[in-house]
């Protein structure tokens, strides 16, 4: 009896130890393998942009290549997708043994992964014209200059941009019309979007998509004050995840510095807004333009962009220009989206703006569905639009908007791919980057992928939200928030991650403001994180 019990216990122990293996479902995900075709395995982060876009690409690809032999004796392709919510940190270690050959992921430290040899060198497929797909351009031609600088490491490409993920403000244009919140040439917020005398907006050009919207921080907060007077809660964000405000602040910061924002990730360039002194009222004296190298990289922390960003957060918080849900730790990003969408249809106070990643409309599909009983509540019917970033000062109005990526999304081919599958994998990745596929991505997700292309062919078929995304991004510059600089890689969280625009005590500037630290004081704390001596030690 005792022996049997021992055996049973031993079997139980072994089964318990084997339990982790139960989580391994295999790459096919239950899909039946068609042995007459060549299989291509794709790993897709099923987050903000979902997987419908990929399914659509695959359906066309499989049809287009139905007669092609990528493997001798096998005609056609079967693409098998594994949709998941894993980041590179969960996937990287097992890539060698994984079946997946192509990856669409987010939060990828591109340079760190290259150094570990996990990405296939795809320089040839990036630089050859896409003639096979009826195009004359190369993929490289579709990249922004800062993307080329970022993705090309010592002359070689190892990955490509994936989805757009900046955190910006979405506004309810119908509510703006209803409450007459558009700004006129007279500076008053009392117009609808159809008025002929609207202000010129951030681009300082009349007759464009941003007419009547605030062009400066000052105008933005005037708008917020007007909203409050008219019984509207100006802004909502997730009270549970305050870092949405931080990601938005990173956009403001990058937009102020423009192309110079790249210098804070490369430590190679000149910055023209380095603060010398700042008094308690925020009056600034600037240094002469500073040439930044790895040796004086700490100087970038003194860019006035940080001060103006903290000032924006300070005014937004201290002016109480937020919904009560924005300071409730129970309110997740999904809840915030739902409150924003539903407020106009319920007895709750109307909410005019939402701070969220551009992809939020996909995440909110459940909220849209739950509102189907309200007439005109679908994404296609509603006039939800992305607001262009207002400028910190009146002098900057008219300057191009600069957008910074916040989730480091990446498309790449595994370095461990079988030699016989390389042609198929590169063809598929090229296929996903053709004009037709990029347009399809926009139609499926409402968002653009990170490529500089013309979307005019499909523009008219888009919902107002997607049109505003295209309008804003088509007129914006784009920068990547990382580089191969060893100082960045050795201190990733400090320069790219959580503490990028915060201190170690307050990673989120809004929490410093909540703790009654003024924007000026927080800026001074932030810029003194490093000095010449501590920087030297950081350099090693």
């Amino acid at each position: 009896m005792k022996k049997n019990l021992t055996k049973m216990m031993a079997v139980l122990c072994a089964l318990t130890a084997c339990m982790p293996f139960a989580a391994c479902t295999g790459a096919t995900g239950g899909v039946e393998i068609d042995k007459t075709k060549t299989q291509l395995y794709v790993s897709n982060f099923n987050g903000g942009v979902g997987h419908n876009w990929l399914d659509a690409h695959i359906a066309r690809f499989e049809a287009d290549y139905a007669e092609t032999e990528f493997t001798p004796g096998k005609k056609g392709v079967q693409v098998i997708v594994s949709n998941h919510k894993k980041g590179m940190v969960n996937i990287g270690g097992s890539m060698k043994k994984a079946k997946e050959e192509i990856y669409f992921l987010e939060k990828v430290n591109y340079h760190d992964e290259i150094a570990q040899g996990r990405f296939l060198d795809i320089t040839d497929m990036v630089t050859e014209p896409l003639t096979e797909f009826g195009e004359t351009e190369t993929i490289e031609d579709k990249l922004y200059p800062s993307q080329k600088e970022y993705y090309k490491v010592n002359g070689r490409y190892y990955g490509l941009p994936h989805a757009q993920s900046p955190t910006l403000i979405t506004y309810d244009a119908d509510l703006f019309d209803q409450k007459k919140l558009f700004m006129g040439e007279d500076g008053e917020f009392k117009y609808t979007s159809t008025a002929t005398n609207l202000s010129k907006g951030v681009d300082n050009v009349k007759g464009t998509y941003d007419d009547g919207l605030p062009a400066t921080y000052e105008e933005f907060f005037s708008l917020c004050a007007t909203m409050k007077k008219r019984g509207v809660d100006p802004i909502i964000w997730s009270g549970m995840y305050e870092w949405y405000t931080t990601r938005f602040a990173k956009q403001l910061r990058a937009d102020f510095d423009g192309e110079e924002a790249t210098v804070s990730y490369t430590f190679n360039g000149t910055m023209s807004h380095i603060v010398d002194t700042i008094d308690k009222n925020g009056n600034i004296t600037y240094k002469d333009p500073v040439v930044i190298t790895e040796n004086n990289g700490y100087e970038v922390l003194s860019s006035a962009s940080y001060y103006y960003t903290f000032k924006f957060i300070e005014e937004m918080y201290n002016g109480k220009y937020y919904s009560k849900y924005a300071i409730n730790e129970n309110v997740s990003h999904g809840d915030a989206q739902a409150y924003f969408l539903k407020s106009r249809f319920t007895s709750e106070t109307d909410i005019a703006m939402l701070i969220e990643g551009l992809y939020w409309v996909n995440e909110a599909s459940g909220a849209f569905k739950s509102m189907s009983s309200y007439q005109g509540s679908s994404l296609q019917e509603r006039n939800l639009k992305v607001m262009p970033l207002p400028k910190a000062t009146a002098e900057q109005v008219g300057e191009q908007t600069t957008i910074v990526d916040s989730l480091n999304q990446l498309a790449f081919i595994s370095a461990y791919i079988d030699e016989s599958k390389k042609e198929l994998a590169t063809t598929f990745l090229q296929y996903c980057t053709t004009q037709a596929s990029l347009e399809e991505f926009l139609l499926e997700t409402g968002l653009t992928r990170n490529y500089k292309i013309d979307y005019s062919k499909v523009y008219d078929n888009l919902c107002p939200y997607s049109k505003s995304v295209v309008d804003l991004l088509a007129s914006s510059n784009y920068i990547m928030p990382a580089s191969s600089s060893p100082i960045i890689q050795k201190n990733y969280e400090a320069f790219v991650g959580d503490y990028e625009i915060g201190t170690t005590k307050y990673a989120e500037p809004i929490n410093a403001i909540r703790a009654k630290i003024s924007a000026v004081d927080f800026f001074n704390q932030f810029r003194s994180k490093y000095d010449a001596n501590s920087w030297k030690a950081l350099l090693g």
Partner: protein
Amino acid sequence: MKQAFSQNRKKHDIIFCLLVLLVPMVQFAIFYIGVNITSLAMVFQKYEVDPITNRGAYIFNGLNNFKDMWFQIENEGVFGTALKNSLLAFVMITLVGITFALIFSLYIFKEMPGAGMFRVLLFAPSILSASVTVTIYRFFVEGAVPVIFGLEQGLLGNAETKLGTIIFFNIWIGFGTQILMYSGAMNGIDPSITEAAKLDGANPFVEFFYIILPLIFPTIQTFLVTGVAGIFINQINLVAFEGFGAEGQYMTVGYYLFKNTESATQYEYPLLATYGVALTLIAAPLTLLTRRALEKFGPSVD
């Protein structure tokens, strides 16, 4: 013949058990021994990327990681805060938690009114997953408490009450297991001992401190020793509350290391491994010392 059969069977039994234990042993070798050896090696290494090949490798770095660790502790400030929070959490969760758990256990042991209900109420959070209890607790302190007390913000939303609210959660969630263990140990006390004490005129105070406490002290000792051993790894459920976005002022050492490791680049692993080894060098002797001290100075049955 019978003896040979018996020996053969014994051999088969041993082989069977060894085969069954093979998987957990391999798992232990890879995920514990292997990981710790790699971590120990990293303490003396640094990561460099060859600018020509774009490939990285770990190379010998002597004791420089200790120097870098000290520099970071001196300059960043967050580690000092995390250390302070870890010690505060230890005092509150282990010491205050044990004190209250003993009081509640005694209440249940003495079968005072509602003892059964208390047992269920205090043990219930232990059988739910942390994310469930955190969600329930979050709704209570953010939703109900502001309404009841007319506060503008919930207890987690308010920076001044946030850390205390999280520590309170940890004390509350720790009651279940402790009460089960202490009341179990108390039930194991021979009733004749407490009866004899009562006949000798011992009041409840004397009974608790001179009879019950010494008899259940080995159980308390286990909780104290494991509490000390876990000072630097306890992340006070911050991941469940905040994900990886907790502010520096609320971090404990356990959370600080967990969070930084989760997002680390290859360059950063050696420094994190150095933190791990340095903290082990503090925690291991401290644990042994605590155990020795408790054995020597703790209440004795004699």
